[in-house]
C-alpha cells in the first residue's frame, strides 16, 4: 500500500548540530579574545543524528519523544526554520507549520489586520487569505470584534482567533506542535474534534507531542525519537508501548521531595510501596502507604490516580469510606484497587489527612507511576466490561 502512495515528506539522513556559545554570547570582544587564545568559544550540541523517515500523503504521523529528545529540533527542521548540517528534508506540497499559535500577532492591529498579517507570514497570498477569512472569523465566533484592536481582546478570544487561523489555513501538509493541545478541557475537545476532521479529510498531518494518548487516538504511524536518534518507527501501538516502557524505566519523576517544604508535616507519608508497576487491564493494584504520626493525631488517608495528561481518574479517602481514624505513631495502610482502566501511564498521589478529611498534613503528588500495558485497542479513560453481540 505504501508504494502506491505519494510521499509527502521525506527526511534523509538529517543531522543537525548547534554551536552553543560558552560565555559572553555574541560580542565582538569575546570573539576576538577567543580567537587570540585559540579557543573555539562554543561547544557543539547535536540534537539530531542521522534521522531518516518518510511520511506518505494522507497520513497522520506522530513524532513522540521526551523533552530534550530532539523532537522540537526535528519539527523545526521539517518546517525549514533550521537548515540541517547534513542530509535533506524534501517536502512535497505546501507545508503549514504551527509551532505556536498566533505567531506575529500584534496587539496594536485589529483582528482583521492580524489575520492578514499572520496569513502572509504563513505563506498565503491575499486571495487565499480572503478565501479563508470568513471561515476563520466564523469559527472563532468573533465576527463582531474583527475591527477592534487585538489588545482589547480577552486572552481567550486571542487564542480562539489564532486557533481558527491554524484550523482554516488550507495547506497540503500540517505540522502541529503539542502547543495546540494545551488549554482547558473545552479547548482540547475542540482540538481533538479538529484532528478527527483532518483524519477524515485524509490530510497529511505531522503531530509532535509527548502525549501518548493523542498519538494513540489519531496517528496512523509514529516515530519515537530518543536522544536525537530514531528509536522506533512503526505502528502507533508499538511506538506507544516502547515509549511508555522507556519512559517508565527512568527514575520516577518529581516527587514532593523536590518541592519546597515550608513546614515539616505533623504526620508524614514515609513512602509508598506497590505490588507491581506494570499491569494488564483489570489487574489489582496494591498500594501501601507507610506513614509516621509521632503526635498520634487521628489520621485519615487519601488516594488519587491521575492520567498522563493530568486528568483526575479516581480518588477517595478513608473518611469517605467510613473507616476509623488511626492514631498509631508509625504504621501502614494498604489500598487495593482493580485497574479497570484503558492502557497508559498513571500517577499515584497519596495524602495523610485530618479528622473529617478536610485538611491535609502531607500530600505527595505523583509519588509513583504505573503502566497499564496495551493489550487491546480501546479509547477513553475507564475500561468498562463490554461485549459485542451481533444479531
Amino acid at each position: 500500500m505504501a508504494d502506491k502512495q505519494n510521499i509527502a515528506v521525506q527526511v534523509e539522513h538529517v543531522t543537525k548540530s548547534f554551536k552553543i556559545p560558552l560565555e559572553g554570547s555574541s560580542g565582538l570582544k569575546q570573539k576576538l579574545i577567543n580567537q587570540l587564545r585559540g579557543r573555539k568559544g562554543y561547544r557543539t550540541f547535536t540534537p539530531l543524528k542521522d534521522i531518516s523517515f518518510t511520511i506518505n500523503e494522507g497520513e497522520f504521523f506522530g513524532i513522540v519523544g521526551k523533552n530534550g529528545s530532539g523532537k522540537s529540533t526535528l519539527l523545526k527542521t521539517i518546517a525549514g526554520i533550521y537548515n540541517p548540517n547534513e542530509g535533506a528534508v524534501n517536502v512535497n506540497g505546501s507545508l503549514v507549520p504551527f509551532i505556536e499559535l498566533g505567531v506575529g500577532f500584534n496587539p496594536e492591529l485589529t483582528g482583521r489586520e492580524n489575520v492578514y498579517l499572520n496569513g502572509a507570514l504563513l505563506g498565503f497570498n491575499h486571495k487565499e487569505i480572503e478565501a479563508m477569512y470568513d471561515d476563520i472569523v466564523e469559527f472563532a465566533e468573533l465576527s463582531e470584534f474583527m475591527e477592534e484592536r487585538l489588545k482589547n481582546y480577552s486572552s481567550g478570544m486571542q487564542v480562539r482567533l489564532a486557533f481558527s487561523i491554524a484550523i482554516k489555513a488550507q495547506g497540503d501538509i500540517l505540522l502541529l506542535d503539542e502547543v495546540l493541545a494545551v488549554g482547558d478541557a473545552a479547548f482540547q475537545q475542540k482540538c481533538y474534534k479538529y484532528f478527527d476532521s483532518l483524519k477524515d479529510k485524509k490530510k497529511t498531518v505531522i503531530l509532535v507531542t509527548h502525549d501518548m494518548a493523542a498519538v494513540s487516538r489519531f496517528c496512523d504511524r509514529a516515530l519515537y525519537i530518543d536522544e536525537g536518534e530514531v528509536s522506533l518507527i512503526g505502528s502507533t501501538r508499538s511506538v506507544a508501548n516502547k515509549y511508555l516502557e522507556d519512559n517508565y524505566n527512568r527514575t520516577p519523576g518529581a516527587t514532593s521531595e523536590d518541592d519546597e517544604v515550608v513546614e515539616k508535616p505533623r504526620a508524614t507519608v514515609k513512602k509508598l510501596t506497590v505490588n507491581a508497576t506494570k499491569f494488564d487491564i483489570g489487574d489489582e493494584l496494591k498500594a501501601t502507604i507507610h506513614y509516621e504520626n509521632p503526635e498520634s493525631i487521628p489520621l485519615h488517608f487519601g488516594f488519587q490516580l491521575f492520567g498522563q495528561d493530568g486528568s483526575y481518574v479516581f480518588g477517595t479517602n478513608t473518611n469517605n469510606n467510613g473507616l476509623a481514624t488511626s492514631t498509631k505513631q508509625k504504621g501502614s495502610i494498604e489500598m487495593k484497587v482493580k485497574l479497570d482502566l484503558v492502557p497508559g501511564l498513571y500517577f499515584i498521589t497519596v495524602a495523610t489527612m485530618d479528622k473529617g478529611a478536610n485538611g491535609v498534613y502531607d500530600y505527595r503528588t505523583n509519588i509513583e507511576k504505573i503502566i497499564i500495558r496495551k493489550s487491546t485497542e480501546v479509547g477513553g479513560v475507564a475500561f468498562l466490561d463490554y461485549e459485542w453481540d451481533a444479531k
Partner: protein, 270 residues
C-alpha cells in the same frame, strides 16, 4: 533560492503586509497620527532654515541654499533610517524567525521600503519649499529618480550586511552608530563642498568617492541649482567618476551574498 523567486506573489504580499503594518503602527496612539509624517520634516526644516540661513550664514554664494540644504538632509535621513531599520530588522523579529520559515530578506527590504516611503513624504515637503523659494524647475529634476534608486540600492546593500552582522555580533549597532556620525560630517550635507575645496582639493575628491555624497550632490545639481560641485566637475578622469557606482554595485553583491549565506542560521543564532 532562485533570483526569479525574490518577488513572487507570496513574497510581494508579505512585503506589503509588513510595510503596511509598519505604517499603521508608527503613529499608533498619537492624536495627529499620519500628519506627523509631514509635520516632523516641516519642523525640522524650519529649524535648520533658521539656524543655517539666518544665523550661521553658510553657503551664501549658493542660490536657494535652504532647499539645497533640505534636499541633502532628506537624502541623508533616508540613508540613516534605512540602514538602521535594516540593522535591527532581523533581531527585532527573532521571535518570528524562530517559529515560522519565511524569506528573511523580505524583512530587511520592508524596513528599507518604509524609509523610502518616508523619504517620499519628505520630498513632497521639499517640493513645497521649492515652490515657496521660487526654484526654477526643469526636466532635469527627473534625474532624481535614478539617483534615489542608486541611494536605495546602496542603503539596502548595507542593510543586508548590517542585519546579518548584527545577529552574530551585537556590537554592530554601536559601531554603525559611531560610523554614521563620522560619515555625516564627512559628507557635504551641512557645508558646501566648496568650503572643503578651499582647504584641500584632495580631501574633497576623497569625500566625493562616497556614493552618498555623490548622490546628494548630483541630486542638488539636478533639482536645485547648477551651482553645485559634482563628481563630474571634480575629477579629471572619467573612471574616477564611476567609482561611487562601482562601490554601490560591489556592496549590493557582497551584502546580498553575505546575508544569503548567513540567513540559514538566523533561527538558531538569534
Amino acid at each position: 533560492m532562485k533570483l526569479s523567486n525574490i518577488f513572487n506573489k507570496k513574497n510581494r504580499v508579505l512585503l506589503r503586509e509588513l510595510v503596511v503594518t509598519d505604517f499603521k503602527l508608527r503613529y499608533q496612539g498619537s492624536a495627529l497620527g499620519y500628519l506627523w509624517s509631514i509635520l516632523k520634516p516641516l519642523f525640522l526644516f524650519a529649524i535648520l532654515y533658521l539656524v543655517f540661513d539666518q544665523f550661521l550664514r553658510l553657503g551664501r554664494d549658493i542660490e536657494y541654499f535652504p532647499v539645497y540644504l533640505l534636499l541633502g538632509i532628506v537624502l541623508w535621513t533616508f540613508f540613516t533610517e534605512a540602514t538602521n531599520n535594516g540593522l535591527q530588522s532581523i533581531i527585532s523579529r527573532g521571535d518570528l524567525i524562530r517559529k515560522i520559515n519565511f524569506p528573511k530578506y523580505i524583512i530587511v527590504i520592508s524596513g528599507t521600503v518604509s524609509s523610502l516611503i518616508n523619504m517620499g513624504i519628505n520630498l513632497i515637503v521639499v517640493g513645497v519649499f521649492m515652490i515657496i523659494q521660487g526654484v526654477p524647475v526643469s526636466w532635469d529634476i527627473l534625474l532624481l529618480i535614478p539617483l534615489i534608486a542608486e541611494l536605495y540600492i546602496f542603503a539596502l546593500a548595507l542593510a543586508f550586511l548590517l542585519a546579518a552582522l548584527n545577529v552574530k555580533f551585537r556590537d554592530a549597532g554601536y559601531i554603525w552608530e559611531v560610523f554614521l556620525q563620522a560619515f555625516f560630517y564627512a559628507t557635504p550635507i551641512l557645508y558646501p563642498l566648496a568650503m572643503v575645496i578651499d582647504q584641500s582639493a584632495f580631501a574633497a575628491k576623497i569625500i566625493m568617492l562616497s556614493p552618498v555624497a555623490q548622490v546628494i550632490q548630483d541630486a542638488r545639481y539636478a533639482a536645485v541649482t547648477e551651482n553645485t560641485i559634482t563628481g563630474a566637475q571634480l575629477y579629471s578622469h572619467w573612471y574616477i567618476v564611476l567609482i561611487p557606482f562601482v562601490i554601490v554595485f560591489v556592496s549590493i553583491i557582497v551584502g546580498g551574498l553575505y546575508f544569503k549565506k548567513n540567513s540559514k542560521q538566523f533561527a538558531e543564532n538569534i
